[in-house]
């Protein structure tokens, strides 16, 4: 079962290290990590997707809250939240393959960022399933390089009721 933790930490050197040290020592099963800034320059946010049961989640949450630089830990239900990630990928794209690749980009509502003689740089964002689906189709054209963010998430408000 997947859980999302939205963690607010002091924007200070050493925080990332102490939070990620926790994964090591406790061997939690971490799927994805995203570190971002917030509106407050003194505060950073980390979004962590972890696998485990409710006990694992509680244990992890408890460990996080013991860290001095952790300000707040929120949990979000994986299926009641908007989750998004972003990918940049360069695929081989000789002229005769371009139309086929562009059809994939369109289907996944991606964008062609750069087109050269023999390659295409593509951006796709969406939930994990969408990104994985796009990679699956692009793979057979030959992925030359790829960069991918971790997942970020916000809870649906309509689910609060």
């Amino acid at each position: 079962m997947k859980h999302i933790l939205s963690i607010y930490v002091k924007n200070e050197p050493g925080v990332m290290s102490s939070v990620s040290g926790l994964f090591t020592r406790r061997a939690f099963n971490i799927d994805s990590i995203a570190v971002g800034t917030t509106q407050d320059p003194l505060v950073s946010s980390m979004t962590i997707v972890m696998k485990g049961d409710d006990d694992d989640l509680r244990r992890f949450q408890g460990q996080l809250l013991k860290l001095a630089d952790v300000l707040e830990v929120r949990t979000l239900p994986y299926h009641g939240s908007v989750t998004r990630e972003l990918m940049l990928v360069r695929v081989a794209a000789p002229v005769e393959r371009r139309a086929e690749i562009i059809a994939i980009v369109d289907a996944y509502e991606g964008k062609v960022v750069e087109l050269t003689e023999d390659s295409m740089l593509i951006e796709v964002n969406g939930n994990n399933r969408r990104i994985t689906g796009a990679i699956g189709l692009l793979e057979k054209h030959g992925i030359q390089e790829m960069a991918r963010t971790g997942q970020i998430a916000l809870g649906f408000k309509a689910d609060d009721h």
Copy 2:
């Protein structure tokens, strides 16, 4: 001056901790970190944007390469690369403000992910300037919550020549 480092590390517990421990000990000026998976399940990628001169960059690169789990470190020129980040943001959106907010979303090629009676959940992706611009305009409507990835990057191929 900003530099981008694209780091490939073994997908093992402890790597994040040792890499981020480096920021602490050496006090490098880190702007943004994104951790993502790659095509190879044994390899994760980290994209780090740092501020500093060429000496700082070389020093940081050297330190990274000393770590056992770091497989490869590439540097990308900040202005010769495609950089992208992703933001989810919920703003207060009473009926009379909706049109104004949607105009901002359109201008930044964002998407409305959820609309409730009094709020809008918006996703925007783009380079740092675009995200910062969108936040600047959305801020006055009242940001209720926000999640943001670090920046990812790939080099333009046309700049290789």
